[in-house]
């Protein structure tokens, strides 16, 4: 139940984060303005960040604990085991989750702490001391390795959520015989839409559709 609720918090975050990031297609003023608005939240931003951190930690703590319990429940493995119905996504939640954790840590170091790319700190601030998020995103994703890892992670995120988003309803008991198939389909569509949305950014940068803006 804790896993389901914290999962929902994180799902809401990835939706919001995607909507924010897609503003890159509207130009530097939009995305930099959006980043500035977030920073203007001040204390509230830290409350949100803290809340997300707690959600992530609880989600991981309880899933790992459950996974250990689950392994203990079958000490002797089957010599041969076939799955009839369980999807690949549902059987690899721990793995996809842990790789996503590695991605999240890297992603925060990359864009929030700005620790991995020295060019970020040489980017000129605008007259009001605002960061140039637009150029940071383009610098970041012009590196095929960074974009590649990002795309892989978004694929795993979609895989994780294609099971997780409908699983949420089942775990909280908000499901019945009629809804199961619909929720599963809805969850998969939702997850792959997220993948398309998030992937569009590095792909657009790599293909040169979104370019560095020239300063006047």
């Amino acid at each position: 139940m804790i896993v389901a609720v914290t999962g929902l918090v994180l799902i809401l975050f990835v939706i919001g984060h995607l909507l924010g990031n897609l503003q890159i297609f509207l130009g530097p003023e939009w995305i930099n303005g959006y980043a500035e608005k977030l920073r203007q939240l001040g204390m509230l931003l830290w409350v949100i960040r803290g809340g997300l951190l707690i959600a992530v930690l609880l989600h991981i703590y309880y899933t790992i604990r459950l996974a250990i319990e689950n392994r203990r429940a079958r000490p002797e493995r089957y010599k041969r085991k076939d799955t009839v119905k369980a999807t690949f996504a549902s059987r690899s939640m721990v793995l996809s989750g842990l790789i996503l954790l590695a991605f999240i840590i890297y992603h925060i170091l990359h864009f929030t702490v700005r620790a991995t790319d020295p060019r970020f700190n040489t980017l000129p601030l605008d007259p009001l001391n605002h960061y140039d998020i637009y150029s940071m995103m383009i610098y970041g994703f012009q590196n095929p390795l960074v974009s590649g890892f990002y795309l892989l992670s978004m694929f795993l995120l979609a895989l994780h959520l294609s099971h997780g988003s409908s699983s949420f309803f089942q775990s909280l008991g908000l499901n019945n015989q009629k809804l199961t198939a619909r929720l599963a389909r809805g969850g998969r569509i939702f997850a792959w839409l997220l993948f398309l949305g998030y992937s569009s950014i590095p792909v657009a940068v790599l293909l040169g559709w979104v370019k560095l803006h020239t300063r006047s």
Binding site: K79, S167, G173, N176
Partner: protein, 251 residues
Amino acid sequence: MNFKLKIWRQTTREAKGELKSYEIEDISPATSFLEMLDILNEQLTTKGAEPIAFDSDCREGICGICSLTINGEAHGPSHPAAACQLYMREFKEGETITVEPFRVRSFPIVKDLVINRSALDRIVQAGGFVSARTGSAPEANSILVPKHNADVAMEAAACIGCGACAAACPNASAMLFTAAKISHLALLPQGQPERSRRVLRMVRQMDEEGFGNCTNTYECEAVCPAEISASFIARMNREYAIASLRERMGE
């Protein structure tokens, strides 16, 4: 038909088991899987070897005692069916068939393919009694049950308690079994007085028995010989959430 068999042999609960290879010839496609094992056992006994221990009783999919994992699937490749309702025509000529017991920590192996499923009985016992008037039978229509509820309760009550759900579950969870047992009484008027207490006790007993947790892979409903739907697990989660909330509020 001819088959190669790899069958789990284990002398006692503590002993280390292993897959042993056997060959069997001239089996009619109409032979049931358990009959095939009977024939093999007869041949082993004639040779003076120890026959393979396996459970069976009604051999018509009602009693729920047969418990084989055949080619990696609980009750074998034919669904929905118990192992006793599986026929050799489902296999290819010359196929190698792997037979293992249900592997769940809470179902200790007694010998070879025989397991002890008392854990499931203890979950049912934890549910306790149903308050009912004893004495003469009441008038049939004095307790009204909506048709839909009666149907759904009947679907849940179809559970034969074989434990295939836990055997097939990647996490060895017995939630489908427990959910079916909780749901069929929770849906009927006769089950109302103890409704909250029943779900709390049964779920806690299930956890105490050391079963795993549900991660919603729905592998259980795919192998269930009684076609119990995993949506009963959602119902159990709902029942449990409400009951534990009431418990916390001191009801």
